[in-house]
């Protein structure tokens, strides 16, 4: 299938970039290690692994937006995409080819993060597996954001917007590092209107085995993922026509 050839290329482009490997795998692992060491040296429950690992998994996934957006923006900036536009690949092939291959990378990243968390003391339960499954809508959200940003911005702009702004938004507004109730007010309200905190809470509930607790967070994540995917597809198709 034509789309698989294109997907394979996109996978290879991402996986062969050493910076992607560092930020995608190395950075979340370093954070897990560092914060677990801090937890061992403080008397209060600050970064307990059961609480921390789901947050780090979601934070790690935010880098997928950067990888996906950079790839698309670079393709748009070079003649490579123009060359492919003159081949029998259809619009649907391009969209699937950019979205689908990154999802297995997201799952692999989550598995690696949870494996590291197990080494650091996370009890091995079946709930780890379900938590990994619940990362699928979160992954779709971040990968679609990548398609959207890559269709709008240049590769340099993508570095700033996805590499700095989005990862910081995910970090600060998701309750990974601190309880949002400690800040409260408008900060908490804004955070609750965005999908990041819901993604983290959904993952935490899944890891606890509290499947009722997954709701209503999963609706927020799936709603955002569906909306962002629809907008991203629309914007990508418009860009494709323009080019």
């Amino acid at each position: 299938m034509k789309v698989f050839a294109f997907s394979k290329r996109n996978d290879l482009e991402i996986l062969r970039d050493p910076l992607n490997l560092f930020f995608g795998v190395g950075f979340p692992i370093v954070l897990l290690l560092l914060l677990t060491v801090i937890q061992r040296n403080v008397p209060v429950a600050l970064f307990e692994i059961e609480h921390l690992a789901p947050g780090i998994v979601v934070f790690g996934l935010s880098f997928m937006t950067l990888f996906s957006a950079t790839l698309i923006a670079k393709d748009r900036g070079s003649s490579f995409l123009q060359r492919l536009y003159t081949t029998p690949l259809t619009a649907g092939d391009f969209i699937l080819g950019y979205l689908l291959p990154i999802l297995p990378i997201c799952i692999a990243q989550s598995v690696i993060c949870f494996a590291m968390a197990v080494l650091l003391g996370l009890p091995v339960t079946i709930h780890i597996l379900t938590s990994v499954l619940f990362t699928i809508p979160v992954s779709l959200l971040f990968v679609s954001l990548g398609l959207l940003c890559g269709s709008i911005f240049t590769d340099k702009q993508v570095g700033g917007i996805c590499g700095a702004l989005l990862t910081n938004l995910t970090a600060w507004l998701s309750g990974i590092w601190f309880d949002l109730r400690l800040v409260g007010g408008a900060f908490q309200k804004i955070a609750n209107l965005l999908p990041f905190v819901h993604a983290v809470e959904m993952e935490r509930a899944a890891l606890r085995g509290d499947y009722a607790g997954v709701f209503p967070h999963i609706w927020w994540v799936m709603g955002y993922a569906a909306a962002v995917t629809a907008i991203a597809v629309f914007v990508f198709l418009r860009q494709m026509k323009r080019q």
């Binding site: 123009q82 003159t86 081949t87």
Partner: protein
């Protein structure tokens, strides 16, 4: 049947008309060079013929298939080697060729044979495992043309194929392009007059979106009254301004 026939092909960008009512015919197996100074409409013409942009009016027929109503059939018979080097930088030379075979729907064994054949023909065998982004400009351009040939196109568009290359790399590419003559129809755009003269069966000169004339290099020199092709080009373009 003509390989390419354009009928009053026109492209407008808001208030600017990039190509005015182009009527051009290219014969099967011919190598035609599109010449013109910047803004002449060469790249826009190629973009319309390859389905990258839709004409404002008029139509073009590639081996009888309309770019407006039969774009899938057109895409199946053409290939483009764009102006900038269009290769996937983190993929090896071989993977780039396999990618093109894949997006054209080749089966694995078929793709393998084609990739091996093109690697041999373009001397890419020794660097097959090297990442495309690490190659020199000349080798990237060579790979870019090889990628365009994977699908065995009936019509090949080469947009400034030797731009920025040194003399030796350019000479190598000229040999490769010459070897394609007669096997497929080739449309070449270039700013190098010696390149157009050396490679073309016929030349089409455009200026400000209009086709000034077409002819063999010898006919164009005779019409301009000079035995130097670059002088002939300059005279024709300058006279058109008056």
């Amino acid at each position: 049947m003509d390989a390419i026939k354009t009928v009053e092909l026109t492209k407008k960008y808001k208030d600017v008309t990039a190509v005015y009512g182009l009527n051009l015919t290219v014969r099967q197996g011919e190598l035609l060079s599109l010449l013109g100074v910047n803004g002449a409409g060469k790249t826009t013409t190629i973009k319309m013929l390859t389905g990258l942009t839709r004409p404002a009016s008029g139509d073009a027929f590639l081996n009888g298939k309309s770019i407006l109503t039969d774009s899938a059939a057109v895409k199946a018979m053409i290939a483009v080697s764009p102006q900038e080097t269009a290769v996937a930088p983190n993929l090896t030379v071989r993977e780039n060729l396999e990618l093109m075979a894949g997006v054209h729907g080749f089966r694995k064994s078929e793709a393998g044979n084609k990739v091996t054949e093109l690697s041999d023909r373009f001397g890419l065998g020794e660097i097959a495992g090297k990442k495309a982004g690490k190659l020199s400009g000349g080798w990237q351009r060579r790979l870019s043309i090889a990628m365009a040939l994977v699908s065995c196109p009936q019509i090949l568009f080469l947009d400034e194929p030797t731009l920025g290359l040194d003399v030796l790399a350019r000479s190598d590419l000229w040999d490769m392009i010459r070897a394609l003559k007669g096997k497929m129809t080739v449309i070449l755009t270039t700013h190098y007059m010696e390149e157009a003269e050396a490679l073309s069966d016929r030349v089409a000169i455009m200026k400000s979106g209009r086709l000034l004339l077409t002819g063999t290099p010898a006919e164009i020199k005779a019409q301009a009254g000079t035995d130097k092709f670059d002088e002939a080009f300059v005279r024709i373009v300058k006279e058109a301004a008056q």
